[in-house]
């Protein structure tokens, strides 16, 4: 049983194209999900800090539940289990779309938003309390003081952890392969099962993942250097 390396399998031809299309799906899945996660995370963070108790409790429950449950289980739940809790019309509509991709986006978004909400909350908490008090006493409503005074500052502080969440999300998106989303990991495994060249296929996928991760980390370093430092210096 001798293993013959055949790197050509993954550097050209049909299987190379499979991997490239996998990279596309991974990037698309990550970008769509991070954008939605940020929006949802923002909403949940605001709810979590709401002065209105029931809203606060709901947000608190949301955060704890989704952070303390495996993403994989959430993916399975949204793909296989959601049909019993979604209204028939919504379910039928989703089935006609690309349900696999949609379920992966929903699961990744909800999971990641819970972490982002916590990041935003700690960003907000690092803004001195007096600012909120000052805003309120000068006639701003709670929502408006959040919107115009607190959040703009908090979001800026939240960007490094947010980039970090993006990094996690990109890696987590590999779990979408379990419900048939043809992202990079799925394609690498496809190449393995068609060619039996697992070593080459996994190496190629690893290089891409590590490359993507390093680019995202690089982004964070640039942000810290170029944007955050001058801001603090002022």
């Amino acid at each position: 049983m001798n293993y013959h390396f055949d790197w050509a399998v993954v550097t050209s031809g049909k299987y190379f194209e499979w991997l490239v299309s996998g990279v596309h799906v991974t990037v698309k899945l990550s970008l769509v999900s991070i954008a939605l996660s940020f929006l949802l995370g923002l909403v949940v963070a605001i709810m979590r800090m709401s002065p209105f108790r029931p809203v606060l409790w709901f947000a608190h429950g949301y955060l704890e539940f989704f952070r303390n449950t495996p993403l994989l289980v959430q993916i399975f739940f949204w793909y296989f289990g959601s049909y019993k809790i979604l209204p028939v019309a919504v379910n039928d509509w989703m089935v006609r779309q690309d349900f696999e991709f949609a379920a992966a986006v929903i699961a990744l978004t909800i999971y990641t938003s819970a972490f982002i909400a916590e990041d935003i909350r700690s960003g907000v908490r690092s803004i001195p309390k007096e600012q909120m008090e000052a805003a309120r006493s000068s006639g701003f409503s709670y929502i408006r003081s959040m919107r115009y005074i607190i959040l703009p500052q908090a979001v800026r502080l939240t960007i490094p952890p947010l980039i970090n969440q993006f990094l996690n999300l990109m890696k987590n998106s590999s779990l979408a392969m379990t419900i048939g989303v043809a992202e990079l990991m799925y394609q690498a495994r496809q190449v393995e099962s068609y060619t039996f060249k697992g070593f080459e296929a996994f190496s190629a996928a690893t290089i891409v993942y590590v490359g993507l991760s390093f680019s995202i980390t690089g982004l964070m370093t640039v942000y810290r250097r170029k944007l955050l430092k001058p801001l603090k210096a002022r």
Binding site: Y3, F80, T178
Partner: protein, 280 residues
Amino acid sequence: MRGKTILLVAAMALVGSLYGSSMAADTLAGVKAKGVLVAGVKDSLPPFGSVDPNTKEYVGYDIDFIKYIAKKLGVKVEFKPVTSANRMPMLMESRVDILAATMTKNPERAKQIDFSYTYFLTGQKFLTKKGTVKSLKDLEGKKIATAKGSTSEQNVKKSVPSATILSFDDYPQGVLALQQGKAIAVTTDESILAGQLGKLEKNPATKGRYEIPDVQISEEPYGLGMRKGDAKFVKFVNDAILEMEKTGEAKKIFERWFGPNSDSPINRGSFAIAADKRGT
């Protein structure tokens, strides 16, 4: 950075060479020595292999073949669950001694592992909601579910190139996708589909709503999988299953799982285990 790349390549080459040098051992002697035959089987794919919820024991067509072989060897048997996607690596990396996991013999696989004579013969068909599929044409441009790394996946890509293939880790997940309308059909071997249909028929909620239309896209001879170059073991297994055919044991096992009174009745036709060369 460049130094790191070189290091990485060197490490890979080292690992690769180790991989290459790993043995083509004598499984027959190994199994007898440790007193246990480790078999890779499906664990949720009746009637071939599944765990009985009450007794927690493995049962099925594949299971009965392994039990016979183990008995003939005079050793105990240990079942390990495998999926279509991971069964070949499980065998090649010696995590199991033999595969009895609804595995079709084909030339690509035969380059990697050795197969026994055909112990089960079936053909690839489709499981659909009643009346939705009459010919291959009805499948064009639709979503079809199957299992990763299976021949079913490769065949259907050839037969219906315009379809979108949804590949799961195993077939039942595909059936679930069919039930929920996420796929128009599940495709794999008729025998497996019959088992799935049997399950759907038993349930009042799904009874009478599914069928296997008479659309076949390939012939699928199943073989027991063994490591490459393990001639003694292959011969032993082949002799064992030929003996099962001769004594009528093979037919009895077939009747138990696929007979008219079973949950997944299909016709054995003229099939008999013989020294065949199907799929190679």
